[in-house]
Amino acid sequence: MENLKERFIEDAFDLIAKLENDLLELDKNREEKSLIEQVFRVMHTLKGVSGMYGFDNVGELTHHLETVYDFIREGRLLITDEIINITFTSIDHIKYLLQDEKNNELSNLQKQSEILQKIVNIISEIEENIKTYKSLKQQTPSLKNTETTRTYYISFKPDSDILERGINALALFEELNILGQTVILPYSNKIPDCQNIEPEKCYLYWDVYLATKSEESLIEEVFIFVQDERQIKKISAENLFELPNFLDEIEPFTRKEENIDEAKINLFIQRISKEKNAIIEKKQTQITSENLEHKIQSIRVSSEKLDVLLNLVSEFITSQAELSLIAEQLENNRLTAVAENLEKLSRQLRENAFSICLIPISEMLVRFQRLVRDLSAELKKEINFVTEGAETELDKTMIDSLADPLMHILRNSIDHGIEFPEIREQKGKPRKGKIIFKAFYSGANVYIQVSDDGSGINLQKVRSTAIRKGFISQDAQLTDKDLITLTFTPGFSTADNISEVSGRGVGMDVVKRKIAEIRGEVTIDTIKDTGTTISIKLPLTLSIVDALWVKIDTSHFLIPLGVVDFCSEIKHNDLKLISNNRIAIEGQLFPFVYLRKEFQIKANLPETERCVIIKYEDIKVALIVDIVIGEHQAVLKPIGEIFNYQDIISGASILGDGDLALVLDTNRLIKNFKNKSAIFK
């Protein structure tokens, strides 16, 4: 039972997430019928299911909200700010309720009655209006007929002397026509040939199909004088005339001029019913399969299962590397072919498995949109929030770690960045401020940028606050870049008032730390009165990386292929002839890092060394190594917490023969090198 309850809560949160999205849309398009329908349906579903699991409060709330949205979708109520706001408040409250298992948190109970009261007020207003509406409506009664239409088969075989008895068959049919829709099929096969016709006799007989709401007794009344010559049989409780091919079905009977007898009718009815059921079934399966298709598109998987899967994939790749090595050594053609194939497959398997753990950033966006909406309303600012690249995917753990920092960055933008509408107008800017949230891939990284067109960071204020708080001295010479870096200091904040929103001075340093934890970097660009852009750079590397395998003496290193541009050679003696701290490779000059020196490896210096040219920010740098062995699928393993103090080795990988290779973080490596040697510039 507990599992079911957990599932329900998960599903409920999913529903609520979609609901919030829809509500945000609805806020902008208040007439959009499909959105109203969706909101109504979610309320309805939540109401129904929450009672089952003991969430009566949720049920109560959603019941009333359902009523409100029912009125809206019937067109009796227009959506107002008040309604949207109370719906959002209710959603937030429901989220709390779903987590308040025992339903006894006082604050929740209080909030519950507050919200409920507001909704009830809205409803009672509507009901007042309805009462007047209803009394108007009662003056025109509706002609709605609730009876159902049935189909009858009437076989009318009058005696030949029917005309002498004064019965006009045509008149009977006219009466039938009043009762409903008819198809009358005459049969003339009993008419004798001309010599034998007696004109006073009737040789015709008819089959009649009648769809009517009237009682069978009424039909009988029509044939009251020819009771023995007619057979009335109800063949369907529904109106068969509504079937598209009903008339086609009947046609053959008329053509054949056969008598329809009981048996044939039964067959006929059976066939028609089957077809009808088939059509209904088809429609139903269409509906369910449409729903099914929608559902089959994604399934829930527990993250533990995913972890197991990823581990297995990693182990698999390590073993495959071993196999490839053995294949190389044994030089058996068939084995080599299989090993190569296995390598290709393992690469695909790895890409596929890891992409399963990737989630599009759009999942995070709802809470940002809510934040912008609520906060800008509270602070009386007008802000347009635009997102780009919402389909960019990130590892789930990264997304979880990014949520808080991004919220903080957004808060800063809204609170400090975007100016009040009046001030913006004074500056010649549009009244509405704009915040752009952008995500995109570049090289081996994912970038997330939050840009606003606000007032920019006030660097003067930063300077004075830093002096006031003792971070720098009065006469310190600092560039703009340095001042921006200061904002990342713990305890720093230029806000005069500590608002609930920001200003507690626990901001950017925490942001920086959290992003560093997922091996990312934060940079700020700001221009006075134009705006501020905060960029977060994250590594795309998950735990398996395609890397270039290189060697220096007996040490193995791996360089992620994403940053590698090309490789070349250089004679060791030529290295001494460097000019301007650049080496010439294939006609171009590159700054370089001599890794033997960096890593203090002295033994076995080769005559000719190799350069690996890698991309660093927007330039190219050469890394000098002994030899380049080739490509390697590196299963990244963490090297241990005691190495946390350094950041140039991002992990280790187990090679085919069991030896270890260290994975280089070239960005950090070059950055550190740059900082140490001013000559690099």
Binding site: E315, T318, S555, H556, E598, F599, Q600, I601, K637, P638, I639, G640, E641, I642, F643, N644, Y645, Q646, I648, I649, A652, I654, G658, D659, L660, L662
Partner: protein
């Protein structure tokens, strides 16, 4: 079963670094490995020898001799890596520590542990739980949690 755990608490693995004998609680020892090729990690302090492949996981290896400023002698067939479980900030961390040889598992009841004199020895006595006298020799009992604790290992960036 209960008796065993009580006994385990007093069991210590003794090992030699150069001429000196040390001991650590058996409960902290996960395994003893033969010395093997250690992959050096660049830009690390002297006493961190590098990393090894420990059944598919990466194990950092500390040179305890360097840590204690003892002369490092050539590896012999008796040189081992003792795999230990260190408590760091309430988390478990697995490390390897190099020893010149392992000796025995000995019983050291708590009451027989002697305090370490402040003067007259090379080793920072903060790292020692105490000393134990056996056959006219002294064994230093290591407090490896303290020995490999954060301050020592998590060197700040220069």
């Amino acid at each position: 079963m209960k008796n065993e755990t009580v006994e385990n608490k007093n069991s210590y693995l003794s090992f030699k670094l150069g001429n000196e004998t040390f001991a650590i609680a058996v409960q902290k020892v996960l395994e003893v490995l033969e010395i093997q090729k250690i992959t050096k990690v660049p830009k690390t302090p002297e006493h961190i020898k590098g990393v090894i492949n420990f059944r598919g996981e990466i194990l950092p290896v500390i040179d305890t001799r360097t840590k204690f400023n003892l002369p490092v002698i050539e590896d012999t067939t008796r040189t081992v890596i003792i795999v230990i479980d260190v408590k760091l900030n309430n988390k478990s961390m697995v490390l390897g520590a190099i020893a010149d040889s392992v000796q025995d598992v000995i019983e050291i009841p708590e009451s027989t542990i002697l305090a370490v004199p402040e003067l007259g020895n090379n080793y920072n006595h903060n790292f020692l739980i105490g000393m134990f006298k056996i056959k006219n020799k002294f064994i230093m009992i290591l407090d490896i949690d303290k020995l490999f604790s954060g301050e020592e290992l998590n060197l700040t960036k220069n």
